[in-house]
Subunit: 210 residues, 2 copies
Amino acid sequence: MKLYQSNASPNSRRVRIFLAEKSISMPLVPVDLGAKEQFSDAYAAINPRRVVPTLVLDDGTAIGEVPAILRYLEEVHPEPRLLGVTPRTKAEVAMWERRAEMEGFASAMEAVRNAVPGLRNRAIAGPHDYEQIPALVERSRLRVRNFYADFDARLGEVPFVAGDQFSVADITAIVTVDFATKAAGLPMPEQHVALKRWYDSVSTRPSMAA
Amino acid sequence: MKLYQSNASPNSRRVRIFLAEKSISMPLVPVDLGAKEQFSDAYAAINPRRVVPTLVLDDGTAIGEVPAILRYLEEVHPEPRLLGVTPRTKAEVAMWERRAEMEGFASAMEAVRNAVPGLRNRAIAGPHDYEQIPALVERSRLRVRNFYADFDARLGEVPFVAGDQFSVADITAIVTVDFATKAAGLPMPEQHVALKRWYDSVSTRPSMAA
């Protein structure tokens, strides 16, 4: 197995943290996004969506999309469990990981991709060009603020995003906070004390340096 | 178990088809979206995102988000397998189901929600109000057309969306085609013969009437 990825990509970081939590080591093959290497014929043959990361198995099968990559890794290397243990907790982790991604991560990404001058016709990652829509920037930033407020309420009730146990939902939420802070200039508001308590606790895990 | 859902909701239809494929029967509790029943206090207590569908387990646990609901159902009622069988096919199904949803289903939904007069401040489903952005309508319609072209290419190579076997990726793609056709006025273009071959074959399954 090897992982095609970029140190500049928050989606790649989701996988790197997951690997670190499971103590899985594998070759990381850098894809130079700055040099648009993801659009090369060689990379398009691996991932037709031309995005990172991609996990390539020993038989040559290429798995794209972060939740699909993480599902594979959990299947072949189950411990420690990061996608839940029982049918109920598997569903709860899937639900909360998706909420973190759709409400937080995707909103922060949309805010950045519709604003950065270098991505003028690249508002959506993938094989097709899409023009930026300036009106999306403010709406996306509002969505990130709503994500912070909603997850602050959630984390006032439970220690981790999906409940009692650390899971992939925490990984996606941590990557979201860091990405929104650094790339979108949207740090967690001071008044969200439960969110801050969770962040301060989870972000000190050694895996988070990945 | 019971499923809170709406016959008018394409996300609910994804679950109904999945249940029919597995011959699982459970009470379907209607949520009247036209009467805004999803915003009632009773429903918000079940699903804080105020969207359908929600699966409520016998112990009262409420599972929202379609992929989380389907993960639970596959765990407790594995046959016939709709989320893959081996680690590799589980990952491939997850990857293709997600592509169908993000590129096709979400694009069609965005095109509709940003255009319909009755959803003026409801461009995104969930607990928060967001104004429509007219510029999103055309971009979303272009994304649906690109989804059709990309999946036509895919289905020129394999019989089903995720490969050799019928899976949840086909369910999401069929629901997308039907929703884009009926709600967004975006039927499959005639020239996509592989897509049409797949649709004509899969849409005749008895589950698709669900």
